[in-house]
């Protein structure tokens, strides 16, 4: 988002320049120049993307040649023995992000509803600025807090509780480690709640009063109004917010690296440590033991890119299928 912002402001400046330069000259000429300029800008974005993908593929070719498709389902990771498998990282990334989003979504939608439709105006405003503030905290701070405060708390309180009461479920078996998949899920949830909340808030505020009044006029209580008018109207926008959160979760590196335990294993238990794709790249890139090791990390980066793309495509399909029923208004 940042990049597009800078791009547009750069484009604005170009437009202004183009306007003053050609104000007395041939107008059509200025228009054409402007069109080429903007075209150039958008093409350069695409070009950067293509170059990046090309470089990544090129760099990961040695790994791809050596391990083939088996790489994505390989479970072993031993740089010294040159044994590489991506599955633990893939698993860690997908599980932590999806569980985080499942927990964050109701929390965020609830918070957004509270801000826009339930709390008195002043309180709503206060909560809202607090949420914005949370979104601005650098992820390394979340990581620090996670590893110094949250993980010990999980280890001493939450995990023993889960083991005692829900230990019969495989998800909550084993020893309480503190740093764990669970810690990563929590920290991700805390990090994406502000994003989803603030976008959902915008979406909810944009719902026309006429829609709410339509429900109230039929004799709806506030809760019924939310269910029948507000949420259905806003659902595609909320879905978009959730997907943005998912994208953030899957790419989040710093905070997750600090709390997940960085152990390349596939453990069913959420109490056990895990590892994610961005984390392994960040941890090992600076000290690769061999050319192949570097290449393998590149390939993991490539997989991360593909997973992100797939999530985005699925998200678009989902939004499309949800909004198909209500043409006549934009999402």
């Amino acid at each position: 988002m940042e990049i597009t912002k800078t791009m547009t402001s750069a484009m604005d400046r170009e437009t202004a320049a183009a306007k003053t330069a050609f104000i007395s000259g041939n107008k059509a000429w200025g228009d054409r120049l402007f069109r080429w300029l903007t075209l150039g800008f958008s093409a350069s974005i695409l070009l950067i993307l293509l170059i990046m993908a090309f470089e990544m593929i090129k760099e990961s070719l040695p790994a791809i040649r050596k391990f083939g498709w088996g790489f994505t389902i390989g479970k072993d990771w031993d740089p010294v023995q040159e044994q590489f498998g991506a599955l633990p990282f893939l698993y860690g990334s997908v599980v932590s992000s999806i569980l985080a989003i499942l927990m964050a979504t109701p929390l965020s939608v609830g918070t957004a509803l509270f801000i826009t439709d339930i709390a008195p105006k002043k309180l709503g405003g206060a909560v809202s600025s607090l949420v914005e503030l949370l979104a601005a905290i650098p992820s390394v701070i979340y990581g620090l807090w996670g590893v110094l405060v949250m993980a010990p708390w999980l280890q001493k309180t939450v995990q023993p509780f889960l083991i005692d009461h829900f230990g019969f479920i495989p998800l909550f078996q084993g020893a309480p480690y503190g740093v764990s998949m669970l810690a990563a899920i929590f920290i991700l949830m805390i990090m994406i709640v502000p994003i989803i909340t603030s976008i959902t808030k915008e979406v909810l505020t944009a719902v026309p009063t006429a829609q709410k009044e339509a429900a109230y006029a039929l004799g709806a209580t506030r809760w019924e109004m939310l269910r029948v008018a507000l949420l259905p109207y806003a659902r595609s926008g909320i879905l978009g917010a959730v997907i943005l959160g998912l994208g953030r979760a899957i790419g989040e590196t710093m905070a997750v690296t600090m709390v997940i335990g960085n152990t390349p294993q596939i453990a069913l238990s959420l109490l056990a440590p895990g590892y994610t794709m961005p984390s392994v790249i960040a941890n090992e890139f600076a000290e690769t033991t061999s050319k192949l090791h570097a290449s393998v990390l590149m390939e993991i980066g490539l997989i991360l890119l593909v997973v992100t793309l797939i999530i985005n495509i699925m998200a678009r399909l989902l939004i499309w299928s949800v909004t198909r029923g209500n043409s006549g208004r934009s999402a």
């Binding site: 105006k121 006029a217 209580t221 029948v228 008018a229 259905p232 659902r235 029923g325 209500n326 208004r329």
Partner: protein
């Protein structure tokens, strides 16, 4: 004629703006009452105080009494939700629920509480759509989105949605202002029919419309009720000078 709704010294303030001033008025049962007057005179405000819509506006303050049959709808013990079940409303701009099908829009009032049998729903949908003369136009596409309908069809759908929950009073705030003459005519015919079962109160800017559809007419000016009486009388021999000026278009 029996009185259905009575305003007793109704005052509405928005902050320091005194929008409706000490209005007392009897709306007769099973008839159509038109509310007319220049823009900003408080017509919508009066109408919206009848189904407690102002409860949703923090700056609004309503005083006085509004009697529906024999209960004051602003009484502390009265639940606004219950009031709105008995007094339905059709808005100026058609506002069907875009995420719902035509069918679901008609029974939206029942969906609130979630208690409606499938077969009952079908009966209600058919009879309500027939009453608003929309059935033949949409019977083959009940499952499609309500947003695929034209503006006039959407407004008739909204009326169907309102009568589906069987209110006793129907409030309409310029229901035809977004519609073409043919759609307007259809709605007017519908209003004519509705009064057999319901008490209809309609705000309109269109003098001919008021004259055509209403039995009684109330003329408001600057938040005050200037004149109220049978439509025939208001439009032929009004008592007040202001009323005459307004309906003859010589206003201001």
């Amino acid at each position: 004629m029996q009185t259905k709704v009575t305003l007793e010294n109704l005052n509405v303030h928005f902050g320091s703006n005194h929008a409706v001033k000490d209005v007392s008025l009897d709306f007769p049962e099973n008839s159509v009452t038109a509310i007319i007057g220049p823009s900003g005179c408080g017509k919508s405000t009066v109408l919206r105080s009848l189904n407690r819509m102002h409860d949703l506006v923090p700056s609004a303050r309503v005083t006085g009494r509004i009697m529906l049959d024999n209960t004051d709808i602003y009484d502390r013990a009265v639940d606004p939700v219950a009031v709105r079940r008995r007094i339905g409303m059709v808005f100026q701009k058609p506002n069907p629920f875009p995420a719902m099908s035509i069918h679901d829009n008609v029974v939206a009032g029942y969906k609130l509480t979630g208690s409606l049998k499938r077969s009952d729903a079908e009966d209600i949908v058919e009879s309500c759509l027939k009453r608003v003369a929309l059935w033949d136009e949409v019977k083959d596409r009940l499952k499609t989105s309500a947003m695929d309908l034209s503006g006039g069809q959407q407004q008739r759908l909204c009326i169907a949605r309102t009568i589906a929950v069987q209110p006793e009073v129907i409030l309409m705030d310029e229901p035809c202002s977004a519609l073409d003459p043919i759609a307007t005519l259809k709605i007017e015919e519908l209003i004519e029919e509705l009064k057999e079962q319901y008490t209809v109160i309609i705000v309109t800017h269109n003098m001919q419309q008021a004259a055509r559809v209403s039995d009684s007419t109330a003329f408001f000016y600057m938040g005050e009720l200037i004149e109220f009486g049978l439509t025939k009388k208001i439009f032929t021999t009004p008592e007040k000078r202001q009323t005459e000026d307004y309906i003859t278009g010589r206003f201001g």
